[in-house]
Amino acid sequence: MNYSPLNLTAFFTRQGQLFLAVVVFLAAWQNSWAAEGKLLATPGVFQVEGAGGGGLVPWAQLGGYATEDEIAATAFCSRAQLDEFDLTVCGAGVNFYDRTEITVAQQRFGVFPLKLDIQQNIYGLKTRLFGDLVYGDLPQISLGMQHKTLQDGKIAYLLGAQKDSGTDIYVAASRLHLGALAGFNAFWNITLRASDANQMGLLGFGAEHNHRSINAEAAVAIFLNRHLALGTEYRQKPNNLTLREDDWQDIFIAWFPNKSCSLTLAWIDLGTIAAVPDQRGWYLSLGGYW
């Protein structure tokens, strides 16, 4: 392997990310100095663009267990394995007083047919406007943004994208209803995102005559018990390039053994990617909370 210790990008090989995920998970497993003001599982897990959320959709909750007088940190790695592509993401975040979340994530998107990787960095900011996930009359409403930059826009430009960086802006609402479905706790989230990203930005941003559009994303889940959530997500996508771009969906199970870590396993259907149809596969995400 050809990397210097300071070249963080090169460190994030597939093996590196897997290693990092396991380290994060084990390091977090029983940490005793974490923020833990929130109820178990209520921060959710780690979204592929780094935000607190589900897997594909950023949710209104902020990552980490911080409440109004705490600061929480999170770190995660996730991996999606499709037929002709794979995606690995590692990221970290800080939650200030359950008001503002700042996240950083790096994605590596492997394109098997071309034997190349596309890398993207994502800087996220999310702020809780009002409401609460569990208590009070209103669902939690948050406003977020994700600034994305491709490390190398060559492929994106080749496919007709106009830019190699872009910024998504989204509003999300979420609520956990206690005992609402046959006595089980039920969760929903709806997100509206203004974006010009092609395939989340991995294939660049915008295209000729096609720019920013608003897309809906949604998630629902049911808690089988305090530690286990079973759910599904849907993410509408822009369709800028002449290559067809499909909406995304997943079915997930998330496990919260304690307030220090979580593990998410999902079946994902990403449809057509870069003209390759029927891209489905598995997704695994490991994260720690401090």
Partner: protein, 143 residues
């Protein structure tokens, strides 16, 4: 179309499940084990609080025997049991205590642990929590 299949449909099915599985008209009070169950739960909660460094200080000035009867009475009343709670309001009780969100959630966790101790079924637990949750505003920001 996909949206319908993947998100709306499961939700509809779950709602249907909810409608079909409505329990054979037992009150939450009965699901908690009646007065005996509520008394056990109250004792278990007091045990849990007694062992909790974060929450115990809030009870420094509390007469435990009084708390025991009043708390059990309150649970009985809000779970549709044959009781009426005429004690101090939650706002009166919690005024000036400067209770934080994390303190409130910690008590929720202690209550959940106590319900586990008292062998109360998870779905009954959730329903009791759902009835208690709206009271948070009287505990955290009492007016």
């Amino acid at each position: 179309m996909h949206l319908f299949k993947l998100v709306i449909l499961p939700f509809m099915l779950l709602t249907l499940l909810n409608a079909c599985s409505t329990q054979p008209k037992t009150t939450l009070y009965q699901q908690l084990g009646g007065q005996a169950g509520i008394n056990t739960l109250t004792d278990k909660l007091i045990e849990r609080i007694g062992q909790d460094k974060q929450i115990l200080p809030f009870f420094a000035a509390t007469k435990i025997s009084y708390f025991r009867t009043q708390f059990a009475l309150h649970l009985c009343a809000i779970s549709d049991g044959p009781c009426q709670y005429n004690g101090d309001t939650l706002a009166q009780i919690h005024t000036g205590m400067a209770i934080k969100h994390s303190d409130f959630n910690r008590v929720v966790e202690l209550l959940v642990a106590a319900m586990d101790d008292a062998k109360i079924a998870q779905r009954a637990q959730n329903q009791l929590l759902a009835r208690l949750a709206p009271m948070r505003k009287d505990v955290i920001h009492p007016l």
